[in-house]
Protein backbone atom coordinates (compact mmCIF):
# COMPACT_ATOMS: atom_id res chain seq x y z
CA UNK A 1 0.00 0.00 0.00
CA UNK A 2 1.37 3.41 -0.88
CA UNK A 3 -0.98 6.00 0.49
CA UNK A 4 0.51 9.35 1.37
CA UNK A 5 -1.10 11.40 4.09
CA UNK A 6 -3.04 14.37 2.73
CA UNK A 7 -2.07 17.98 3.38
CA UNK A 8 -4.02 20.10 5.88
CA UNK A 9 -4.04 23.83 6.46
CA UNK A 10 -3.89 25.00 10.08
CA UNK A 11 -5.63 28.09 11.46
CA UNK A 12 -5.04 29.22 15.03
CA UNK A 13 -6.85 31.72 17.23
CA UNK A 14 -4.13 33.12 19.44
CA UNK A 15 -6.58 34.40 22.04
CA UNK A 16 -10.29 34.96 22.39
CA UNK A 17 -11.36 38.14 20.69
CA UNK A 18 -8.99 37.58 17.76
CA UNK A 19 -9.75 35.77 14.52
CA UNK A 20 -8.21 32.44 13.49
CA UNK A 21 -5.15 33.06 11.35
CA UNK A 22 -3.41 30.79 8.89
CA UNK A 23 -0.36 29.36 10.69
CA UNK A 24 0.90 26.82 8.19
CA UNK A 25 0.26 23.31 6.96
CA UNK A 26 1.02 19.72 7.80
CA UNK A 27 0.32 16.14 6.73
CA UNK A 28 -2.04 13.87 8.66
CA UNK A 29 -4.11 10.78 7.96
CA UNK A 30 -7.36 12.30 9.26
CA UNK A 31 -8.85 15.40 10.87
CA UNK A 32 -8.25 14.23 14.41
CA UNK A 33 -4.58 13.55 13.76
CA UNK A 34 -4.30 16.87 11.95
CA UNK A 35 -5.58 18.65 15.07
CA UNK A 36 -3.20 16.79 17.35
CA UNK A 37 -0.23 17.42 15.07
CA UNK A 38 -1.21 21.08 14.72
CA UNK A 39 -1.20 21.36 18.51
CA UNK A 40 2.33 19.91 18.66
CA UNK A 41 3.75 21.74 15.66
CA UNK A 42 2.19 25.19 15.96
CA UNK A 43 1.28 25.76 19.62
CA UNK A 44 4.24 24.47 21.64
CA UNK A 45 4.57 27.83 23.37
CA UNK A 46 0.95 28.66 24.13
CA UNK A 47 0.41 30.37 20.78
CA UNK A 48 -3.24 29.41 20.61
CA UNK A 49 -6.57 28.76 22.31
CA UNK A 50 -8.39 27.29 19.32
CA UNK A 51 -7.34 25.44 16.17
CA UNK A 52 -9.11 24.82 12.86
CA UNK A 53 -7.79 22.33 10.36
CA UNK A 54 -9.09 21.92 6.83
CA UNK A 55 -7.84 19.60 4.15
CA UNK A 56 -5.95 21.75 1.64
CA UNK A 57 -7.81 20.29 -1.34
CA UNK A 58 -11.02 21.89 -0.07
CA UNK A 59 -9.63 25.40 -0.41
CA UNK A 60 -10.42 27.23 -3.62
CA UNK A 61 -7.89 29.95 -4.28
CA UNK A 62 -7.90 32.86 -6.68
CA UNK A 63 -5.25 32.84 -9.36
CA UNK A 64 -2.61 35.60 -9.16
CA UNK A 65 -2.39 35.74 -12.96
CA UNK A 66 -6.02 36.94 -12.93
CA UNK A 67 -5.43 39.57 -10.30
CA UNK A 68 -6.22 42.30 -12.83
CA UNK A 69 -9.83 41.25 -13.47
CA UNK A 70 -10.20 40.23 -9.87
CA UNK A 71 -9.00 43.24 -7.92
CA UNK A 72 -8.41 46.22 -10.19
CA UNK A 73 -12.09 47.20 -10.59
CA UNK A 74 -11.99 48.29 -6.93
CA UNK A 75 -9.26 50.82 -7.66
CA UNK A 76 -11.41 53.30 -9.63
CA UNK A 77 -14.30 53.26 -7.17
CA UNK A 78 -13.03 56.09 -5.06
CA UNK A 79 -16.60 56.95 -4.04
CA UNK A 80 -16.43 53.98 -1.69
CA UNK A 81 -14.05 55.94 0.52
CA UNK A 82 -15.14 58.71 2.91
CA UNK A 83 -12.55 61.17 1.58
CA UNK A 84 -14.39 61.28 -1.79
CA UNK A 85 -17.14 63.45 -0.29
CA UNK A 86 -16.73 67.21 0.11
CA UNK A 87 -18.04 68.66 3.33
CA UNK A 88 -17.72 72.18 4.73
CA UNK A 89 -15.04 72.60 7.40
CA UNK A 90 -17.72 73.54 9.98
CA UNK A 91 -18.81 69.91 10.05
CA UNK A 92 -16.15 68.69 12.38
CA UNK A 93 -16.67 65.02 13.03
CA UNK A 94 -18.26 62.92 10.34
Amino acid sequence: MKNNWPLWEVFVRSKNGLEHRHFGSLHAADAEMALENARDVYTRRSEGVSIWVVESKHITASNPSENGEMFEPAQDKVYRHPTFYNLPDEVKHM
Binding site: N4, W5, G24, R44, A61, N63, P64
Partner: protein, 318 residues
Amino acid sequence: MSDAEVKNLEALFEARIARDEKIEPKDWMPEKYRKTHIRQISQHAHSEIVGMLPEGNWITRAPSLRRKAALLAKVQDEAGHGLYLYAACETLGISREELYEQLHSGKAKYSSIFNYPTLTWADMGAIGWLVDGAAIINQVPLCNTSFGPYARAMVRVCKEESFHQRQGYEIMLTLCNGTEEQKAMAQDALNRWWWPSLMMFGPTDAESTHTEQSMKWKLKRKTNDELRQQFVDQTAPQADILGITIPDPELKFNEDTGHYDFGPIDWDEFWQVVKGHGPCNKERLEARVNAWEGGAWVRDAAMAYAEKQEHKKVAKAS
Protein backbone atom coordinates in the same frame (compact mmCIF):
# COMPACT_ATOMS: atom_id res chain seq x y z
CA MET B 1 5.18 31.41 -24.03
CA SER B 2 7.76 32.97 -26.33
CA ASP B 3 11.27 33.76 -25.14
CA ALA B 4 10.51 37.48 -25.29
CA GLU B 5 7.46 37.02 -23.07
CA VAL B 6 9.47 35.02 -20.54
CA LYS B 7 12.18 37.71 -20.56
CA ASN B 8 9.54 40.32 -19.90
CA LEU B 9 8.02 38.34 -17.05
CA GLU B 10 11.48 37.82 -15.59
CA ALA B 11 12.19 41.53 -15.66
CA LEU B 12 8.89 42.26 -13.90
CA PHE B 13 9.68 39.54 -11.38
CA GLU B 14 13.14 40.87 -10.56
CA ALA B 15 11.68 44.36 -10.21
CA ARG B 16 9.13 43.11 -7.68
CA ILE B 17 11.88 41.59 -5.55
CA ALA B 18 13.99 44.74 -5.85
CA ARG B 19 10.96 46.68 -4.51
CA ASP B 20 10.92 44.27 -1.52
CA GLU B 21 7.63 42.70 -2.62
CA LYS B 22 7.21 39.11 -1.50
CA ILE B 23 6.72 36.25 -3.92
CA GLU B 24 3.91 33.83 -3.04
CA PRO B 25 3.65 30.21 -4.22
CA LYS B 26 1.08 30.70 -6.98
CA ASP B 27 2.83 33.73 -8.48
CA TRP B 28 4.71 33.28 -11.71
CA MET B 29 8.41 32.70 -11.03
CA PRO B 30 11.45 31.81 -13.13
CA GLU B 31 12.20 28.09 -13.10
CA LYS B 32 15.62 28.84 -11.65
CA TYR B 33 14.07 30.68 -8.72
CA ARG B 34 11.83 27.70 -8.01
CA LYS B 35 14.68 25.20 -8.24
CA THR B 36 17.08 27.25 -6.15
CA HIS B 37 14.46 27.67 -3.45
CA ILE B 38 13.56 24.00 -3.44
CA ARG B 39 17.24 23.20 -3.07
CA GLN B 40 17.92 25.67 -0.29
CA ILE B 41 14.70 25.24 1.72
CA SER B 42 14.85 21.46 1.55
CA GLN B 43 18.51 21.44 2.53
CA HIS B 44 17.54 23.60 5.47
CA ALA B 45 14.65 21.27 6.41
CA HIS B 46 16.86 18.18 6.13
CA SER B 47 19.43 19.86 8.40
CA GLU B 48 16.79 20.38 11.09
CA ILE B 49 15.67 16.76 10.91
CA VAL B 50 19.14 15.19 10.74
CA GLY B 51 20.20 17.68 13.42
CA MET B 52 17.93 15.89 15.87
CA LEU B 53 20.14 12.79 15.76
CA PRO B 54 23.38 13.94 17.42
CA GLU B 55 21.41 15.46 20.30
CA GLY B 56 18.87 12.67 20.52
CA ASN B 57 21.91 10.57 21.40
CA TRP B 58 22.09 12.27 24.83
CA ILE B 59 18.44 12.63 25.87
CA THR B 60 18.41 9.46 27.96
CA ARG B 61 21.73 10.36 29.57
CA ALA B 62 21.10 13.99 30.45
CA PRO B 63 22.57 14.68 33.92
CA SER B 64 19.38 16.07 35.47
CA LEU B 65 15.65 16.30 34.87
CA ARG B 66 16.01 20.03 34.11
CA ARG B 67 18.60 19.34 31.43
CA LYS B 68 16.61 16.45 30.05
CA ALA B 69 13.39 18.46 29.72
CA ALA B 70 15.27 21.28 27.98
CA LEU B 71 17.06 18.95 25.58
CA LEU B 72 13.82 17.16 24.75
CA ALA B 73 12.13 20.49 24.07
CA LYS B 74 15.01 21.58 21.86
CA VAL B 75 14.97 18.40 19.81
CA GLN B 76 11.19 18.67 19.50
CA ASP B 77 11.64 22.25 18.25
CA GLU B 78 14.00 20.97 15.59
CA ALA B 79 11.35 18.52 14.41
CA GLY B 80 8.94 21.45 14.29
CA HIS B 81 11.39 23.60 12.36
CA GLY B 82 11.90 20.81 9.86
CA LEU B 83 8.14 20.60 9.40
CA TYR B 84 7.67 24.36 8.87
CA LEU B 85 10.40 24.25 6.27
CA TYR B 86 9.18 21.12 4.48
CA ALA B 87 5.72 22.69 4.30
CA ALA B 88 7.20 25.91 2.84
CA CYS B 89 9.15 23.86 0.32
CA GLU B 90 6.07 21.83 -0.70
CA THR B 91 4.31 25.05 -1.79
CA LEU B 92 6.81 25.12 -4.67
CA GLY B 93 5.25 22.00 -6.13
CA ILE B 94 7.40 19.19 -4.78
CA SER B 95 5.97 16.48 -2.54
CA ARG B 96 7.19 15.50 0.93
CA GLU B 97 7.95 12.01 -0.39
CA GLU B 98 10.15 13.41 -3.16
CA LEU B 99 11.99 15.56 -0.62
CA TYR B 100 12.65 12.57 1.63
CA GLU B 101 13.70 10.54 -1.37
CA GLN B 102 16.28 13.19 -2.27
CA LEU B 103 17.66 13.14 1.27
CA HIS B 104 17.74 9.36 1.50
CA SER B 105 19.39 8.87 -1.88
CA GLY B 106 22.09 11.41 -1.01
CA LYS B 107 20.98 13.75 -3.80
CA ALA B 108 20.04 16.48 -1.33
CA LYS B 109 22.51 17.73 1.24
CA TYR B 110 22.13 18.75 4.86
CA SER B 111 24.44 20.77 7.06
CA SER B 112 27.77 18.94 7.38
CA ILE B 113 28.08 19.78 11.06
CA PHE B 114 25.69 16.95 11.90
CA ASN B 115 28.14 14.41 10.56
CA TYR B 116 30.33 14.85 13.63
CA PRO B 117 29.78 12.59 16.66
CA THR B 118 28.54 13.73 20.09
CA LEU B 119 31.02 12.03 22.40
CA THR B 120 30.32 13.64 25.78
CA TRP B 121 27.62 15.61 27.56
CA ALA B 122 29.67 18.76 26.98
CA ASP B 123 28.88 18.36 23.28
CA MET B 124 25.27 19.29 24.09
CA GLY B 125 26.60 22.53 25.48
CA ALA B 126 28.96 23.19 22.58
CA ILE B 127 26.27 22.42 19.98
CA GLY B 128 23.77 24.79 21.55
CA TRP B 129 26.33 27.52 22.02
CA LEU B 130 28.26 27.23 18.74
CA VAL B 131 26.13 25.33 16.23
CA ASP B 132 22.87 27.05 17.14
CA GLY B 133 24.74 30.32 17.48
CA ALA B 134 26.05 29.97 13.93
CA ALA B 135 22.64 28.85 12.71
CA ILE B 136 20.99 31.94 14.18
CA ILE B 137 23.46 34.21 12.39
CA ASN B 138 22.71 32.40 9.14
CA GLN B 139 18.95 32.43 9.70
CA VAL B 140 18.08 35.90 10.95
CA PRO B 141 18.59 37.56 7.54
CA LEU B 142 16.29 34.94 6.00
CA CYS B 143 13.30 36.36 7.88
CA ASN B 144 13.32 39.02 5.13
CA THR B 145 13.91 36.74 2.17
CA SER B 146 11.79 37.21 -0.95
CA PHE B 147 9.81 33.96 -0.90
CA GLY B 148 6.87 34.49 1.47
CA PRO B 149 6.44 30.97 2.89
CA TYR B 150 10.19 30.67 3.58
CA ALA B 151 10.34 34.07 5.27
CA ARG B 152 7.32 33.24 7.46
CA ALA B 153 8.80 29.89 8.47
CA MET B 154 12.06 31.59 9.36
CA VAL B 155 10.38 34.17 11.58
CA ARG B 156 8.92 31.33 13.61
CA VAL B 157 12.20 29.39 13.66
CA CYS B 158 14.24 32.39 14.81
CA LYS B 159 11.78 33.20 17.56
CA GLU B 160 12.16 29.70 18.97
CA GLU B 161 15.86 29.29 18.42
CA SER B 162 17.25 31.74 20.95
CA PHE B 163 16.49 29.42 23.85
CA HIS B 164 18.57 26.75 22.12
CA GLN B 165 21.70 28.81 22.24
CA ARG B 166 21.15 29.97 25.80
CA GLN B 167 20.58 26.45 27.12
CA GLY B 168 23.81 25.34 25.41
CA TYR B 169 25.81 28.18 26.86
CA GLU B 170 24.40 27.48 30.31
CA ILE B 171 25.58 23.87 30.05
CA MET B 172 29.07 25.10 29.13
CA LEU B 173 29.05 27.61 31.97
CA THR B 174 28.05 24.98 34.52
CA LEU B 175 30.81 22.64 33.35
CA CYS B 176 33.38 25.43 33.34
CA ASN B 177 32.47 26.33 36.93
CA GLY B 178 32.66 22.67 37.96
CA THR B 179 35.52 20.28 38.65
CA GLU B 180 38.77 20.18 36.68
CA GLU B 181 37.48 17.19 34.72
CA GLN B 182 34.25 18.98 33.87
CA LYS B 183 36.09 22.02 32.65
CA ALA B 184 38.42 19.83 30.60
CA MET B 185 35.35 18.21 29.06
CA ALA B 186 34.01 21.63 28.05
CA GLN B 187 37.39 22.55 26.56
CA ASP B 188 37.51 19.29 24.63
CA ALA B 189 34.04 19.93 23.21
CA LEU B 190 35.04 23.44 22.14
CA ASN B 191 38.18 22.01 20.51
CA ARG B 192 36.15 19.59 18.44
CA TRP B 193 33.22 21.86 17.49
CA TRP B 194 34.97 25.16 16.82
CA TRP B 195 36.28 24.57 13.30
CA PRO B 196 33.24 22.66 12.02
CA SER B 197 31.11 25.56 13.32
CA LEU B 198 33.14 28.05 11.25
CA MET B 199 32.61 25.80 8.25
CA MET B 200 28.83 26.08 8.69
CA PHE B 201 28.94 29.43 6.89
CA GLY B 202 30.03 27.67 3.74
CA PRO B 203 32.97 28.17 1.39
CA THR B 204 34.81 31.48 1.25
CA ASP B 205 33.27 34.19 -0.91
CA ALA B 206 35.83 33.54 -3.62
CA GLU B 207 34.74 29.89 -3.82
CA SER B 208 31.02 30.33 -3.32
CA THR B 209 29.12 29.72 -6.54
CA HIS B 210 25.63 30.83 -5.55
CA THR B 211 26.30 34.07 -3.72
CA GLU B 212 25.53 36.63 -6.42
CA GLN B 213 22.18 35.20 -7.51
CA SER B 214 21.20 34.51 -3.91
CA MET B 215 21.91 38.10 -2.95
CA LYS B 216 19.63 39.31 -5.72
CA TRP B 217 16.79 37.10 -4.53
CA LYS B 218 17.45 38.03 -0.91
CA LEU B 219 18.20 34.43 -0.06
CA LYS B 220 21.36 35.96 1.25
CA ARG B 221 21.90 39.42 2.67
CA LYS B 222 25.51 39.04 3.71
CA THR B 223 28.28 36.91 2.25
CA ASN B 224 29.60 33.73 3.87
CA ASP B 225 32.78 35.47 5.00
CA GLU B 226 30.91 38.42 6.51
CA LEU B 227 28.65 36.10 8.49
CA ARG B 228 31.61 33.98 9.62
CA GLN B 229 33.41 37.10 10.86
CA GLN B 230 30.28 38.15 12.74
CA PHE B 231 30.21 34.74 14.42
CA VAL B 232 33.87 34.86 15.46
CA ASP B 233 33.50 38.42 16.80
CA GLN B 234 30.47 37.43 18.81
CA THR B 235 31.79 34.11 20.11
CA ALA B 236 35.39 34.90 21.11
CA PRO B 237 34.41 37.07 24.11
CA GLN B 238 31.89 34.40 25.19
CA ALA B 239 34.71 31.85 25.35
CA ASP B 240 36.64 34.28 27.55
CA ILE B 241 33.72 34.43 29.97
CA LEU B 242 33.71 30.65 30.14
CA GLY B 243 37.47 30.68 30.71
CA ILE B 244 38.22 28.20 27.94
CA THR B 245 40.40 28.65 24.88
CA ILE B 246 39.33 28.66 21.25
CA PRO B 247 41.64 26.19 19.46
CA ASP B 248 43.17 28.73 17.10
CA PRO B 249 46.63 30.17 17.92
CA GLU B 250 46.07 32.92 15.35
CA LEU B 251 42.84 34.18 16.91
CA LYS B 252 43.46 37.72 18.06
CA PHE B 253 41.52 40.96 18.30
CA ASN B 254 42.68 43.40 15.65
CA GLU B 255 42.53 46.97 16.95
CA ASP B 256 42.72 48.41 13.43
CA THR B 257 39.79 46.53 11.94
CA GLY B 258 37.77 46.18 15.14
CA HIS B 259 37.38 42.48 14.35
CA TYR B 260 39.04 39.25 15.39
CA ASP B 261 41.62 37.82 13.01
CA PHE B 262 41.54 34.05 12.80
CA GLY B 263 43.58 31.25 11.25
CA PRO B 264 42.92 29.36 8.01
CA ILE B 265 40.09 26.84 7.80
CA ASP B 266 40.85 23.28 6.68
CA TRP B 267 38.66 23.25 3.57
CA ASP B 268 39.83 19.78 2.61
CA GLU B 269 38.10 18.48 5.71
CA PHE B 270 34.97 20.46 4.82
CA TRP B 271 34.74 18.99 1.31
CA GLN B 272 35.51 15.50 2.58
CA VAL B 273 32.53 15.69 4.95
CA VAL B 274 30.28 17.28 2.30
CA LYS B 275 31.14 14.46 -0.06
CA GLY B 276 30.07 11.88 2.49
CA HIS B 277 33.33 10.96 4.19
CA GLY B 278 32.73 12.59 7.59
CA PRO B 279 32.79 10.52 10.77
CA CYS B 280 29.00 9.96 10.88
CA ASN B 281 27.57 10.53 7.37
CA LYS B 282 26.65 6.89 6.94
CA GLU B 283 25.18 6.50 10.39
CA ARG B 284 23.02 9.64 10.05
CA LEU B 285 21.55 8.67 6.70
CA GLU B 286 20.96 5.12 7.86
CA ALA B 287 19.03 6.40 10.87
CA ARG B 288 16.82 8.54 8.61
CA VAL B 289 16.19 5.80 6.07
CA ASN B 290 15.41 3.26 8.80
CA ALA B 291 12.99 5.64 10.49
CA TRP B 292 11.18 6.25 7.20
CA GLU B 293 11.07 2.64 6.08
CA GLY B 294 10.42 1.21 9.52
CA GLY B 295 7.56 3.67 9.98
CA ALA B 296 5.88 2.85 6.67
CA TRP B 297 3.47 0.35 8.20
CA VAL B 298 2.36 2.91 10.78
CA ARG B 299 1.64 5.50 8.09
CA ASP B 300 -0.25 2.91 6.06
CA ALA B 301 -2.25 1.73 9.06
CA ALA B 302 -3.22 5.30 9.99
CA MET B 303 -4.38 5.92 6.43
CA ALA B 304 -6.34 2.65 6.31
CA TYR B 305 -8.03 3.55 9.59
CA ALA B 306 -8.88 7.05 8.33
CA GLU B 307 -10.40 5.61 5.16
CA LYS B 308 -12.44 3.06 7.09
CA GLN B 309 -13.82 5.76 9.38
CA GLU B 310 -14.69 7.88 6.35
CA HIS B 311 -16.58 4.97 4.74
CA LYS B 312 -18.49 4.38 7.95
CA LYS B 313 -19.52 8.02 8.07
CA VAL B 314 -20.69 7.92 4.45
CA ALA B 315 -22.59 4.66 5.04
CA LYS B 316 -24.33 6.10 8.07
CA ALA B 317 -25.35 9.25 6.19
CA SER B 318 -26.86 7.39 3.21
